[in-house]
């Protein structure tokens, strides 16, 4: 049985590999447009293939800003595929922010990815010059909100540190899938071939082999074309935020806007560097750029691929709005691409960095791909911040541990990491479906959000409920979850953030069942006479 899939509470079937199901015609002679040859496309993956071809053409200049895509009807006929294939590919480009539909004028290219190493401002060339933050004013007075250290310290500490029989907190991949054998084989190979000089202090920017491998990974998987020299290896996104906080303060930036709801941990790392935090609401399209603009913030931290914790994918129009904001104000976008590779029911979305390298700090890591214990991540800063960030890394720790970097580089070069990702996707998919099914049975009033990707989902409750109390009640029943209120500043519906990746289906079912018991005990208590 194909598992059901769920966005925002609506249950429907997965559309993976179903995009051209209606079209059974044999490969046609192709189209003059980009010399597309449908014979190259795998059956069952034609929309994917076409999207890839179009993105390539955007990237290498064959489809410059202002050019028009063929009408869907025309291209479908030329390629002898169903119109749905073309529509889906065009839709993805629009979601990327590359194109807009202009009604009867057709689909127009409005932004293209920047080539490696060279900043490119798609629609406002003047903003592409060096040091985009020169114009940013310094400290803007006391209007910045400083985030409180922790939400409700007592319960917070207990929920964070208490052991529990079943841990459904978010942020952890399936650690049982860690490729121990492949890791050890790669390490043996690294150690046997290594020059002794590589056991010294090494390059504080990271091992050249890993920077090379990460550049390849980002190009293949995230649409980001980067020169290895632009890549800084760090110990993870936590270090990125701490170092960046330092660099931004040095550059006179004292406040950073964040998504609300948004990651508590990320906010803690920024406020740990004494940056004021300005919450900006998130709706079903992602961060509200009009509200961002109203804060006057010089920088914003976003999770465009899979917003934490709501799971919303930043819509195409919001992507364009955000880019416009960055270009017009010289604002800095900090893109935390924390679990972008994990998607189940939706096409991949390229990173914002692929569009706006001169305005985007891009942060990634292997914490959700392999294991947080490895402490390996990467950051790509705009040219204006790159040197300061490298210096900050050098002062922080003289560079990351070398051996694990070299081992990871091997796993990336050999395709092992892609195999690992495919394995994780299958396992996480099953676990997600188990969680959704269990919730439908055990938490009938709950609304599920953001389940199309990632390692967690969010549920909200319409009931009048204190979600911290709910989490505490769940803990008393042996299940650890995170209350949604931890991750909000401006108030939101009560809810929970639930990780499904780290537990098997049986454990997930048990956990959700206990959660249901905890919920009923709370609601029952509220209904009882005082």
């Amino acid at each position: 049985m194909a598992p059901p899939c769920c966005h925002d509470g609506r249950v429907h079937r997965s559309n993976d590999d179903a995009t051209d199901r209606s079209n059974g015609s044999p490969p046609g002679p192709g189209s003059d447009f980009l010399q597309l040859d449908i014979g190259e496309a795998p059956t069952g993956g034609r929309a994917d293939w076409l999207t890839r071809q179009l993105r390539l053409a955007l990237a290498d200049g064959r489809l410059p800003v202002g050019s028009r895509l063929p009408a869907t009807r025309v291209l479908a006929a030329e390629l002898r595929v169903s119109r749905g294939v073309i529509t889906e590919a065009y839709q993805r480009l629009a979601e990327d922010g590359h194109t807009v539909g202009r009604g009867r004028k057709g689909t127009i290219v409005v932004a293209v990815p920047a080539p490696s190493g060279r900043p490119l401002a798609p629609r406002a060339p003047a903003a592409g010059t060096a040091a985009p933050h020169r114009g940013v004013p310094g400290p803007r007075g006391p209007s910045a909100e400083v985030f409180p250290a922790v939400p409700g310290p007592d319960v917070y500490d207990r929920l964070r540190t208490a052991p529990a029989r079943i841990d459904l907190t978010p942020g952890m991949p399936d650690l049982g899938a860690f490729p121990r054998g492949a890791w050890l084989r790669a390490e043996r190979s690294v150690l046997s071939g290594l020059a002794s000089s590589h056991l010294g202090y090494g390059d504080p920017r990271g091992a050249p082999a890993l920077r090379e491998a990460v550049a390849g990974w980002l190009a293949r998987n995230r649409g980001v074309h980067a020169d290895p020299a632009e890549i800084l290896i760090v110990t993870g996104t936590a270090q990125t935020l701490t170092l960046l906080g330092e660099v931004l303060r040095e550059a006179g930036i004292t406040r950073v806007a964040v998504e609300d709801p948004g990651s508590l941990g990320a906010r803690q790392h920024l406020s740990g560097r004494r940056l004021g935090i300005l919450p900006v609401p998130v709706d079903t399209e992602g961060i509200r750029v009009d509200a961002l603009r109203a804060t006057g913030a010089p920088a914003v931290l976003v999770t465009p691929a899979h917003q934490f914790p709501t799971g919303v994918v930043l819509s195409g129009s919001r992507r364009r709005e955000l880019m416009r904001w960055a270009e017009e104000t010289g604002g800095l976008v900090i893109e935390d691409d924390y679990d972008a590779e994990h998607r189940y029911d939706r096409p991949p979305v390229p990173a914002l960095r692929s569009m706006l390298p001169q305005h985007v700090v891009y942060a990634g890591s292997v914490s959700k791909l392999l294991a947080p214990a490895l402490r390996i991540g990467w950051v790509l800063a705009p040219p204006g911040h790159h040197e300061a960030l490298t210096a900050a890394k050098r002062f922080a720790d003289l560079g990351s541990a070398v051996l694990p970097q070299l081992v990871l580089a091997r796993l990336m070069e050999s395709g092992e990491l892609e195999r690992q990702l495919r394995l994780l996707r299958r396992r996480h998919h099953r676990r997600r479906d188990a969680m959704i099914q269990a919730m439908a049975a055990q938490l009938p009033g709950a609304v599920v959000h953001g389940a199309a990707a990632g390692l967690h989902l969010m549920v909200t409750f319409d009931a009048d409920l204190d979600d911290t109390e709910l989490a505490a009640a769940a803990l008393a029943h042996g299940v650890k979850v995170q209350p949604l209120s931890w991750h909000t500043l401006g108030g939101y519906r009560p809810g929970l953030v639930l990780g499904y990746a780290a537990n098997d289906a049986g454990t997930i079912r048990d956990g959700v069942s206990l959660l249901g018991t905890a919920l009923r005990s709370l609601v029952g208590r509220a209904a009882a006479p005082a």
Copy 2:
């Protein structure tokens, strides 16, 4: 042929294992004092054995502060050993700072190591209470010297980054001796037995297994009795200094005294956290505590076991003076124990931390024992700073990479690291001797300092010479060395700091020969008509 050995230019033979050469008498019945049984002592190592017994008695309370050791003549007769054995053991205790000679009153215990976990103030109990820095005033105005970013930026950059055929810069062990096989075996064993949950974020203080192993290592090798809970695993001493700089600034400390000459890198890490640097001169006994006292500094960074770069061992009277300073002023001693395990011609000196845990931050790492590339170190802070330092580590990077920590713990537990240390000592010893011999032949005017331990030595020249020019000339001849002036603030004789551990004897001879050529070219030029 036994290799010659050299302190401060005076060449003499090693006295290792030669301490009781004059005494050939059979094991006697022993002494009532501490129930010493000389039959337990290995022949050829009696002074070592006696020193160990006395230290044990100091540590476990059998020799409290104020007690008197037997006269050397008496104890020698009771143990039927030569008086030289007793004198040497007593001398070591005095060098540790445990005892003082009171002329005809004999040798008196003045300080004992603190037991694990419990701070103990040997001579000023009132200072042993919590939060020793409460009384330290805040920022003391502009008298603090802020260290200039780099000495002579142009030549500095070139000397730091230019490749050279032969690299004689200090700070690197014999990387060819890295135990690749043992590392890989330990990693396989770790990976095969590891619970998946250990691949998560882990304890930001470090893996419990490694903290346990480091506690054992410090007790066995550095005389430090620490509870694993006191130990914080970091990525090395650079991270220790950066985190500590943050913590000290938070505690209102804005200036730190440093040894002069002293490590440029260490100063850079402290001033990177905006701490003012106050240089304190070093003489043949180590840091001048009277001059430290005169600066009014609330904290001091020292390298007592093997001063960098002079190689001086902090004398017993200076150790006592430094402890008195810490107790009387509430001052903080930051002990960088960077290469204490590497000694050739002198007995081990226990760490200052063993005497004064409530006033000493102790920093160590495996960079000189295994490889800097591992990025593993540890820090023990006084109780008043421990929590803040742990929080700083958590904010910096959420904790160090877990796998290398667990592998290192295995190597420490299995005795592999001690084997590695013995191997390194033998290899480094040979390389040091090769360097000293080559210098005697090639650099006749040079005076060698601090060669009894460590991975480097210092040479000074009486000639009127710019040592940065000499280093630049050497680089032009294919040899990279560090000018002594990099590591001084207050001016010093011209000199060089030369690492010998990382190169084989042949390379060292070639390097020193080329250095001689460079020196003669400079001196010749100076002698030539302008």
